[in-house]
């Protein structure tokens, strides 16, 4: 009887997309996947059957992920997905558009290769922070299934997070706040594209202690320091290399976890972003020292709660605009896709740092490091992301550019400062990876 009730409840389960998530299915396609990937590199080979069980267990803990996307007349929405989850060996490039028909309509895709477990997540489902929580649940379950005796005690002490899917944007936005978006277009990275739908992935595995020491010299946080290195690398290896004559600034978009600013336990999206605007010519930012000073000041200015609320509120207001709400989905699609071509020209590069992947107790012993990747797109040809596990910080470049000078410059910069960096790549630009190594 109880089972029947649960089945009936599942069948009726549906939820609206949160304010951020609304835009992704309307804009997404093969060229603009809005998919991010989290990977865990373990110390032993992955067992697919156990992984399948682990994912199913995680879905019981986090039912908000057991959904599929459906089109309504005005908006997309999520509803309960009765189908089995699909686990496959990794064959395709990372962060590719998740074809619903190849994935039993799930909005995430779990794959494995040798020692590595990946989850590709469509951004409509959740953001990097909550995606990370779900992914950790999969890893915990997987390790528990594989090492039952060793992790028996740990399992009983592990906390399970509440499965909350509220739209925290609606709860926290300020109706009176005015937008603060910049009207200036950004410098777009130059260079030929790889083509054939290929994505190059270069992971720079950085010694965290050395990186901390180096950033302390500049009284900067790690994110600020790496952002400055990134801007410097773009300036040296693309801006100057291609002899850019214009005046567009290098604009770096940095996602911000709003849970740090508002009390929210939602598993849906709850992030905003800040955009650093480095006027290379106007402010004469031609050395690293000048760039890092600029980054520190701009971070301070833009990371103020007031500024973040302004950006978030402006986005929420757009989604709650009555005219936009009542436009049929098909018309919304047309306008959003058209405007997205333009919107993308306002960012040079995105850098997302999800910070430390907090793994508890003995589970750590089975994990080497974590990776995070974001899908590049036709205008924003390179995207960067990083995450930290123990003493390894992995900074990842996902790129559709043939030219890897930025990655190389970034690597050399850290090496010159005696920071140990190791390289892993997916081999798309094999010569490049060898060159760096």
């Amino acid at each position: 009887m109880k089972n029947k009730k649960i089945k009936k409840d599942n069948k009726l389960y549906w939820r609206r997309l949160d304010n951020s998530a609304k835009i992704f299915p309307i804009a997404a396609g093969r060229k603009y996947s809005t998919v991010f990937r989290l990977s865990a590199v373990l110390k032993e080979k992955v067992e697919p059957k156990m992984l399948y069980k682990a994912v199913n267990r995680a879905l019981v803990q986090y039912p908000s992920f057991k959904v599929r996307m459906k089109a309504g007349f005005f908006w997309y929405y999520l509803e309960y997905n009765p189908k089995d989850v699909v686990i496959e060996e990794e064959k395709d490039y990372p962060c590719k558009y998740i074809e619903p028909r190849t994935n039993n309509n799930y909005l995430f895709k779990v794959t494995y290769f040798e020692n590595k477990i990946n989850i590709d997540i469509f951004h409509s489902l959740t953001d990097g922070n909550s995606g990370n929580m779900f992914f950790k649940e999969i890893i915990y379950n997987y390790l528990e299934l594989l090492h039952k005796d060793e992790l028996k005690e740990e399992r009983s002490t592990r906390k399970i997070v509440e499965n909350n899917t509220e739209d925290s944007y609606m709860k926290n936005y300020d109706k009176k706040a005015k937008g603060n978006a910049s009207s200036k277009k950004a410098y777009v990275l130059k260079g030929k594209k790889i083509g054939f739908g290929a994505i190059s992935t270069i992971h720079e595995i950085i010694d965290l202690e050395a990186l901390k020491k180096e950033s302390k010299k500049y009284e900067a946080t790690i994110t600020q320091y790496l952002t400055a290195v990134l801007i410097y690398s773009i300036y040296e290896a693309n801006y100057k290399k291609y002899n850019y004559k214009g005046s567009k600034p290098i604009k770096v978009c940095i996602p911000v976890n709003l849970k740090k600013y508002f009390p929210s336990k939602t598993m849906s999206n709850f992030f905003s972003y800040i955009t650093l605007e480095a006027e290379m010519k106007k402010d004469n930012l031609d050395t690293f020292d000048k760039i890092i000073e600029f980054v520190k000041t701009d971070f301070k200015k833009r990371l103020q709660e007031e500024e973040i609320i302004k950006t978030m509120s402006a986005n929420v207001k757009l989604g709650t605009n009555f005219i936009i709400k009542i436009l049929p989905l098909i018309i919304k699609k047309f306008f959003v896709r058209l405007s997205y071509i333009e919107i993308r020209k306002y960012t040079t590069i995105t850098y997302s740092n999800i910070g430390r992947v907090g793994i508890i107790g003995k589970y750590k012993d089975y994990i080497d490091y974590f990776l995070m990747l974001i899908a590049p797109e036709p205008v924003e040809k390179i995207k960067c992301s990083s995450c930290t596990f123990e003493n390894k910080m992995v900074f990842t470049f996902t790129s559709i550019l043939k030219d890897n000078s930025i990655e190389k410059c970034f690597y050399n910069f850290l090496k010159e400062r005696n920071i140990n960096v190791e390289i892993e790549s997916n081999g798309v630009l094999d010569d490049i990876s060898k060159e760096i190594k």
Binding site: G72, F73, K91, Y93, R101, N115, K116, G427
Partner: protein, 187 residues
């Protein structure tokens, strides 16, 4: 090594694209032959309409997330349009709207009725398609009121079956119908 050696972007769609190009070329070729040989009989247009119908069916069939009620709806619309087009190209004697369309509407409604009775527990999946079919089934009523139809009996029967179908559905699955409307039309 944390990535497989040969990563590939899937090329499954290549065959699909080749077939699509072949269809377009075939369609153009038929039009050309038709114009050069028997321009007084528009057989190429009819063949092309057939090709388009086949492609609509193929597109929908390969979409795994379309449920059976969706197929009923798409087939009902596609076959109706195909028959009206053939009729129009052959001199528009109105056999399509007098006979074909009402029969198609009847079949679609009976199929939906069977689906409702057999699997009313899953009805929420079918509700929206059912409502659209009922709405489309009212087209013959409009045609009757505009005096376009000569044979009204079939159309009246078709629309009648549709209304009966709706009443029975509401009786069996009113909650599901309401839930489906709320989620499909939320703003």
């Amino acid at each position: 090594m944390i990535y497989p050696k040969k990563l590939s972007s899937k090329k499954k769609d290549l065959i699909f694209k080749i077939l699509l190009i072949c269809s377009v070329v075939l369609g153009l070729l038929l039009l050309l032959i038709n114009k050069l040989t028997t321009p007084e009989v528009p057989w190429a247009a009819l063949s092309n309409a057939g090709i388009i119908y086949v492609w609509i069916t193929v597109f929908y069939s390969i979409k795994k997330n379309i449920n059976i009620a969706g197929h009923v709806l798409v087939q009902a619309i596609a076959i109706s349009l195909l028959t009206v087009f053939i009729d129009y190209k052959l001199g528009f004697e109105k056999w399509s709207i007098n006979i074909s369309v009402p029969i198609i509407i009847m079949i679609a409604n009976v199929t939906m009725l069977v689906l409702t009775i057999v699997s009313h527990k899953k009805y929420i999946k079918y509700a929206i398609y059912q409502l659209i079919i009922v709405l489309l089934s009212m087209i013959p009523v409009i045609l009757i009121s505009e005096n376009i139809l000569e044979n009204k009996v079939l159309s009246i029967v078709a629309s009648g079956i549709s209304i009966l179908n709706l009443i029975l559905t509401l009786f069996l699955c009113a909650k599901d119908v309401k839930a489906a409307i709320v989620r499909k039309f939320h703003i």
